[in-house]
Symmetry: C2
Subunit: 458 residues, 2 copies
């Protein structure tokens, strides 16, 4: 591959277009896309024009959005129209969605009217629903056909379909009756009727089903394609496994970005402008900051205690961060389990029970480490925590049990509460939980300090 790339750079440099065309011919479209990305824009246009038009469309779909935009500007109107016509409808929809609105409008105007209709139809469903992922390019047969007739029909009409692995049996009105694996049509007796072929029952999703329902259906039924119908069972299109892999990756990306405490970027890191990124990150960061300002209020409330026993202030970061860490662990476990539907809303009380246990155990564990640290440092003369150092250590021990239990419970219950209220559980980002826990953590810490240290330090 490296050798090929070097020789292609060579051919471009010496302007040997015919040899270049020859060299590109055997390459996979995604490899050609990689080559195009590595060359400056003016060269990209040339490489691109040397490709046969169908291959050009496939190469184009493999390019990142920014490269696609550059190329579109470099090509003539007629070239763009041809390119759009050759793309599969779902690749085209993705392209149209990623372009700024005025570019989209311009591109739609260049489409063949039939293609335009397909693209618009695909665009008519809300984002992240099955309708937006489907392609209308499927193969269909009728219920009264024999295997031999069905295969003959597929031979006639099957070229250029997104997939032929599954063939859809529809009635005269267009309702979905059954889906049959092409493999089973091939294996069947020539005169067997298509509905008699031994094949798993049809499974379909609705065009308005959301992304999670589509993912669940694919995970549950192990298909390489699923049909999409409207509410009355009419076949609208199909979703293929390669798109589902993209959907799953995209969903996980959004969850991870939200869990980290920013809005989902919606595009790859380097493709997002610094301005957009600042907006998507700044919003949440400011909201968290404003929430976190309550810690200053809480600390102010205990200002007299801190002034009297400065030693208490020393452990503030240690204690609140432990609450935040345990909360962030719990929330990420629960968010993912909810996303994968390993947990349902009604499982909250089982989780509650487990997390109380986990919280107290983990808190006692950290508390013991903290207790030992204080006593040890005092005895080794690393630090002087004063004559009441044992009581300080007891305070830290107690506070850690309280804070870690509270963090664990908050982190695990918040995703359930959010889902119950109709929000995406992933909104319960780790920083969000940490902020909630920080304020309460301070109150728990100083509350225990007042109990333990009254009459000595306080």
């Amino acid at each position: 591959m490296i050798g090929t790339r070097d020789s292609i750079t060579e051919l471009v440099a010496t302007r040997q277009w015919d040899q270049l065309r020859e060299a590109l011919l055997p390459l996979h479209p995604s490899d050609i896309a990689d080559i195009i990305i590595e060359h400056p824009t003016e060269t990209e246009g040339i490489i691109f024009r040397l490709l046969p038009k169908e291959k050009a469309a496939r190469v184009f779909s493999y390019l990142p959005a920014a490269e696609q935009r550059q190329l579109l500007e470099a090509l003539s109107n007629e070239q763009v129209r041809r390119l759009l016509d050759e793309m599969t409808p779902d690749d085209r929809t993705r392209l149209l969605e990623e372009m700024p609105a005025e570019v989209t409008r311009e591109l739609l105007l260049k489409l063949d009217p039939r293609e335009l209709e397909a693209a618009r139809k695909l665009l008519g469903y809300p984002e992240n629903t099955a309708g937006r992922y489907m392609t209308p390019e499927y193969a269909w047969i009728y219920p009264d056909m024999t295997a031999a007739r069905a295969l003959a029909k597929i031979r006639e009409t099957g070229r250029g379909k997104e997939t032929l692995n599954w063939v859809y049996v529809i009635d005269a009105g267009g309702k979905l009756v059954e889906d049959v694996r092409l493999a089973n049509l091939v294996l069947a007796n020539a005169d067997a009727h298509v509905l008699e072929i031994d094949d798993p029952e049809v499974v379909s999703v609705r065009a308005t089903d959301d992304r999670d329902a589509v993912l669940k259906a694919f995970a549950k039924y192990d298909r390489t394609a699923l049909p999409v119908t409207d509410d009355h069972g009419y076949l609208l299109g199909i979703i293929t496994a390669d798109d589902v892999l993209d959907i799953a990756e995209q969903r996980a990306t959004e969850d991870i970005q939200r869990l980290g405490g920013s809005e989902a970027l919606g595009a790859s890191y380097l493709d997002v402008s610094v301005g957009t990124m600042l907006r998507k990150r700044g919003g949440w960061l400011a909201a968290l900051f404003i929430g976190e300002m309550l810690t200053a209020t809480a600390m102010g409330f205990f200002e007299a205690e801190i002034a009297r026993a400065v030693v208490l202030a020393l452990f503030v970061p240690l204690i609140i961060s432990s609450g935040g860490n345990s909360g962030s662990q719990a929330t990420s476990l629960i968010i993912r389990a909810l996303a994968l539907r390993e947990l349902r809303l009604q499982d909250w009380w089982r989780v509650f029970g487990r997390e109380i246990l986990a919280g107290v155990a983990l808190g006692a564990f950290l508390g013991s480490i903290g207790f030992l640290r204080i006593v040890l440092w005092q005895h080794l003369h690393f630090t002087d925590y004063g004559p009441h150092y044992v009581l300080v250590a007891v305070t830290v021990f107690g506070a850690l049990i309280g804070v870690v239990s509270f963090g664990t419970l908050t982190g695990s219950m918040l995703p359930f509460v959010l889902r119950r209220l109709g929000f995406d559980p992933a909104t319960a980002s780790a920083p969000f939980v940490a902020t909630l826990v920080d304020v309460t953590g301070l109150c728990i810490y100083f509350g225990i300090a007042l109990l333990v240290l009254r009459g000595t330090l306080l």
Copy 2:
């Protein structure tokens, strides 16, 4: 579906086994699995024995690990052997992996010798490599065949294969020559040679390739199955798209769990015992706690300053949490971009440039809010920050710029450093970054305080 379940519960209660068998027949295996899960164990065994044996194996693969273990205990040795024989090799491998070692050994002994070999072969590759996901049940043809002869061979040998969507052309020695879509074999002229059929070039993965390489190959080449070869190009098996969806979900789950600061659980939340969960969470939590103890040291270093100006302590949680939050945002964005290979190692300096910009901008934004908050609270007489409140506000403003920039840079660079050192970038969990940032954040805060407040408060 609900109606069907109720009537099945009814049939179980009234012990009408024949009618129950009839009622189960048309249901999809995964729906039967759902029904089995909802019934008590003794009933499960009965429902299970009523299924035709091939269907029983498929239903079994849809059950969660705990249910599988229960059922295995309820069945006779002979029944277990038949069940294992009917499962597809990759489902069987997954089962054998998830059982405790002694159960696995016992199960392996019950396998047919041929099946045993397949299972062992599949088990011989390191975890998370292509060899562990592949199934040897693919259809193959020879290079000198015509389309018609190839189809005839598939009709003879194709039953029971994992997929027939792709057919593999191997030479007499077993080397992989080409892969052909079944659809293209059907569409081709009967006398066309299989190698002449217009079909995308063969793409394969090696058995020792890791999970990320497999995911990348599927995402890049949009296939529903990929062949797996050894280092010399001999075909060992194939990986199918439904398995890849599982792999992608599993990978995202591990990343999310690590990002939240625990070890990957390796099973679904409710299937993991509380003990295991405590171990997987406690380890990291303790490590982070020990790291975080440095904050107590750092705070001790500034104890004199805190005693002189208690007001400084009030903003400690606010400032260090802002560093943690911005770091957690940055690290989650970068970890995901690295996992999806949107970013490569050599992109680190581009990220560095963007994140310095983002860090300073976000820090100045939060700093301004903090500044306004202090000045406003003082003027509205909510709190009294003393005569030097403007200088305190300036300290907070400056500290936030420093801490947020440092948090953003640490969060974004740490995943690169970890990958460079050969670790998984996802080890850079949000709590890990927060811990790193907390200690430095305190030093930045008190350093700026010493600069700004010298001669007044300090």
